[in-house]
Amino acid sequence: MTHDQHFRVWRGDDEKGELVDYPVEVNEGEVVLDIIHRLQATQAQDMAVRWNCKAGKCGSCSVEINGRPRLACMTRMSTFDENEVITVTPLRTFPVIRDLVTDVSFNYTKAREIPSFAPPEGVEPGDYRMAQVDVERSQEFRKCIECYLCQNTCHVVRDHEENKENFAGPRYLMRIAELDMHPLDSADRQKAAQEEHGLGYCNITKCCTEVCPEHIKITDNALIPLKERVVDRKYDPLVWLGSKIFKRGES
């Protein structure tokens, strides 16, 4: 079964650009990335698009399809009406390089700002021992394919460029939660999450969870538990009162 579909693809660079209309053939079983490749092959040979695995595992082909952040390789054409206009744009939170390709280095910067796994003193690699039940919470977060759809959708940086400096974004706050929940990690993550990585900016509106192609419960299983751990540490009035009465320092 084949039909023609009306595609509108954003073409341009960091200075200017526009939505360009393309009538294009669509075959049964195809995904949006197939159609973008057909446009490259037939009508727009210079159209830039980042892609790799075509299996939803590399996280390269993140774009916005009819305004919704999606993986182009995992968005089936059969989910659209044949008469529907399909609009494909680059991620709107990151600087555009060309056409559908954006510069996602913001995310690499944020990744580098988070101290890596810190095993207890005296425990060497190869000597780590832990029960499965203790690490399986963190393993959910390891499913992340780093497509940055959550980082792109989060309104904290999507709508407010000025917050990029102080906010790590859901993907990297989830990384902090992963390490903080790890039974062998000995670094102090909680204060840093609030004071250095901007956990307080998150108002738990759950868009990161809505767009995650790996269906990771980012908000419920990472961000809210991390917020609660920060409350344990920073905002618990009983702990504060105890520290005043007994003059205990923060530990």
Partner: protein, 261 residues
């Protein structure tokens, strides 16, 4: 101007606030309507100071429990009368603020009202209208971090609601007492499914293998927690319906369907 339409950021120049073509505006609109209607009803009832107790069957509406005002019907005051009887003070003024704050700081309701009332954001990938955003980093929204203390208060109030329900059953069994029972079960489910509860019972520890009972509790609360949104709306419904039923019986609009006694 939102960053998504700001030329200086190097982003793709797209002037539209959103390119979404689905009905993204419907969920926030429904939330706005539902929460506004509920708050309006609850406010009217909390200040009405009438038709809150059915002495014959021991039905006390949760909106007036515990009834601490000297204006309360004496049989409805299970824990004494210490508040003055003035029109601007609800009879359950000692507990209602805690229940309000428990729901106001609830992680689900925060999502609902940030989206529906503050439009921050109204829906995913739809630009919010505000120029600046600081989230929950400063006063007053920094106070959202006190949620767990309102959770403790809500748990105590749920015990009081349970006591009221048990007292109603000592007068026999009627449709009203069954409605009170359903409301109490729903309130407990909502309270226990709270994200703070999930953290307190076990989420805060890193070695589940050393705390098997806390791990079991965490698994149980996690299952309930996955339904927190549904339970939040269910309890708004059971609270309003229970209150309305007690009001209708107390006012004589309907007679209670009695099963035993």
């Amino acid at each position: 101007m939102s960053s998504t339409t700001d030329a200086s950021t190097g982003r793709a120049q797209i002037s539209a606030r959103t390119l979404r073509t689905d009905r993204w505006w419907l969920p926030p609109l429904l939330n706005f309507a539902g929460l506004t209607a509920w708050v309006a009803y609850a406010t009217v009832r909390a200040f009405q100071q009438d038709n809150y107790y059915v002495a014959e069957y021991g039905y006390l509406t949760p909106f007036y429990s515990p009834c601490f005002s000297v204006g309360c019907i004496p049989e409805a005051s299970h824990f004494g009368q210490i508040l003055p009887d003035v029109w601007w003070l609800p009879y359950a003024a000692l507990t209602l603020p805690f229940l309000l704050l428990f729901r106001l700081t609830c992680y689900y309701y925060r999502k609902a009202y940030y989206r529906a009332f503050w439009l921050s954001p109204p829906a995913c990938a739809v630009a919010e209208p505000h120029k600046r955003y600081t989230g929950e980093t400063r006063f007053p929204l920094l106070g959202q971090n006190l949620h767990r203390y309102f959770f403790y208060a809500a748990a105590i109030i749920s015990v009081i609601n349970t006591y009221d329900m048990v007292l109603a059953f000592t007068e026999g069994v009627g449709l009203g007492s069954i409605i009170l029972l359903i409301n109490v079960v729903a309130l407990w489910a909502y309270t226990i499914s709270c994200h703070s509860c999930r953290s307190i019972v076990g989420g805060r520890i890193n070695n589940f293998s050393k705390h098997p009972s806390r791990y079991k509790a965490w698994v149980y609360v996690s299952k309930l927690n996955a339904k927190h949104m549904q339970l939040a709306w269910l309890t708004l419904g059971t609270l309003a319906f229970t209150d309305f039923y007690v009001m209708a019986v107390a006012a004589g609009w309907i007679t209670d369907l009695r099963i035993v006694g």
